[in-house]
Symmetry: C2
Subunit: 190 residues, 2 copies
């Protein structure tokens, strides 16, 4: 997606070879016009698919998923919540996720009433790196007996193995910008 790549080159900042800061438009301050273009692009990538619900994860996925829903006939958005310890509430689906950034495990949780058997669920998130968060969301969709339509990602770190892991699970990944590498402050797309 050309507009997104241009924005990353203009306003993103590469920190070393692995960290990309996009907090001026994607995950702290949000560029709502850009999010609309991102939403349209997700629709175009998944235009053949019946989508009943969009699932994302707090916090950065929420704005992206909410705007995107408008291009999927306003389907409900559900955001998974993060919690450090196992919740004793039996009314939630849970999956354990490892965060490499924070070097700890956390649980992602979705209330059982918000994912139903047979529903077609599109997973959307801001970043794909090692795939842990997305795989946790896929696990939750499967626990509910619902179908994963695909995983829509705004920025993929193509030099990490998240895509490989998700594809090995049999799911489709659509990333709007794929970073090949970052070197000396420069960002290279695949």
């Amino acid at each position: 997606m050309k507009l997104l790549k241009e924005k990353i080159l203009t306003d993103g900042r590469a920190r070393g070879s692995h960290i990309l800061k996009v907090d001026s438009f994607l995950n702290h301050q949000l560029d709502i016009r850009l999010l609309n273009e991102i939403g349209k692009e997700f629709r175009s990538r998944f235009q053949q698919d019946k989508v009943d619900k969009i699932l994302t994860i707090e916090a950065s996925g929420i704005g992206i998923a909410s705007i995107a829903s408008q291009y999927f006939d306003y389907v409900p958005v559900v955001f998974a919540k993060k919690a450090e310890s196992l919740n004793i509430d039996k009314e939630v689906y849970e999956s354990k996720v490892h965060s490499f950034t924070k070097n700890k495990d956390y649980n992602v949780m979705v209330g059982k009433q918000f994912l139903k058997e047979g529903e077609n669920v599109l997973i959307i998130d801001d970043f794909l790196a090692n795939g842990c968060a997305a795989i946790g969301l896929i696990d939750i969709v499967k626990q509910a007996g619902a179908n994963v339509i695909g995983v829509g990602i705004v920025i993929e770190k193509g030099f990490q193995d998240g895509r490989k892991k998700i594809e090995e699970l049999g799911h489709r990944v659509e990333s709007l910008a794929i970073i090949e590498k970052m070197e000396e402050g420069k960002i290279y797309f695949k």
Copy 2:
């Protein structure tokens, strides 16, 4: 706001006299059509005001603020982040907030580059109860030398003193639904 009140009566659940669960449409699963109507209503409440930026707080405020921005000429949305301990990063504005729900203090933080002196900032959040979160956001806007245009709230617990505290600071509060009381599972609006 009639549509919102109807939705609260239909899909909200009062738990005792103080807790209102609206997670089926406002803060876990999101009804994006309703959020659009909420965004329009915020615009109509603040139609006389110049708004340069919308400030909210993770996680529940993000979807509401992102959709609302579309009715304010797509101004940038900034969401404050929550952290349990003081961040050593000097590049953030911080304010300490007490959570009565979780009975602990946390810090809300906004990167300094995302709030500028003289900017007109509309604060938006899902709930107003004791006002702690909103007052933390007001504090951050003032630290930046920016102007608080007002505080837009989806659901106000009218039986708590958040509005009083914010008004005493000299700021305007616009709530789209004000709960007067909850008794025996019934919800009464002001």
